[in-house]
Symmetry: C3
Subunit: 130 residues, 3 copies
Amino acid sequence: MKSFTILTPTRTALVNITSHVSKAVTESGIRNGAVVVYVPHTTCGITINEAADPDVAQDILMQLDKTVPRGRMYRHREGNADAHIKTSLLGTSATVLIEDGQLVLGTWQGIFLGEFDGPRNRKVYLQFLS
Amino acid sequence: MKSFTILTPTRTALVNITSHVSKAVTESGIRNGAVVVYVPHTTCGITINEAADPDVAQDILMQLDKTVPRGRMYRHREGNADAHIKTSLLGTSATVLIEDGQLVLGTWQGIFLGEFDGPRNRKVYLQFLS
Amino acid sequence: MKSFTILTPTRTALVNITSHVSKAVTESGIRNGAVVVYVPHTTCGITINEAADPDVAQDILMQLDKTVPRGRMYRHREGNADAHIKTSLLGTSATVLIEDGQLVLGTWQGIFLGEFDGPRNRKVYLQFLS
């Protein structure tokens, strides 16, 4: 298992972590299999989506805010219930395939940490499976 | 592969199954890898979220009810279309990492079965990967 | 790793790809483990849900359209921001268990490609893990 830490910039953000994952895959020496990208947190998740136009990430965050608004209508008293709910919608991990020692991503795909209660230091764990 | 069955208490519920998964990991003898926690159903899912404050689970269920209301506006004639839709939003599995024979979960994380059409007996399958 | 291509029929569709995955599992010779079903795209996803009544798939698509409407309120200028957002809600992969050389699916479960910006040719990658 490998891990890295990132500092997220704002309360909500989609942070592109593809290069971190790609570097770890190379260092691991794994040739074929998959990597599970996992966050041990409950107010951020992982998603794979378009990395070329940053507007896509903004639209995802905006829609999540619209569907799951921040506010006082929740029971959880810490003011971040919306962040927990968004985390369950995204999921806390993504599994990405590896072939010939390389991440198998589509042309437009990037791996993102979806921050919903930042800014914070977030850990990302990587487990390699074959 | 291992499996266990749980009886869910109400129509919708987030049931903490972490101890079942943890026990199975120990029994399996696996040291490093991952476990796929999978439900073979179409009206319940799996999610990882906060296990400390039970209000978080209630908020997740409440928001899912708000976004995907139960009712007669669906084509599926069994009255549980909302449960199917919520299942696709959560997903039918979670992959959790294993290191040194232990589940790698964050301080606040628990593994939950998200029941959307209970009460029912639900099967959970566990597959260990390395 | 294996792959196949499908042509999706309409802008949005849930296309049942279970038989393609099942056939590939048989051909792979894998006896026990899991298969990761992965799409290298950013406007379609993978979900597991009921395959018996096609109304369930229609209800899922209808609800996603309602929660994430198509329109001009997004920043992404290609007119398919809704498709990107729906992809993050579903996820780009599903992990399905394999036992005794067979996919482990529940009675009602099928594996679907969720198309949100078709019709298009879509690639599906399969990685076998044990």
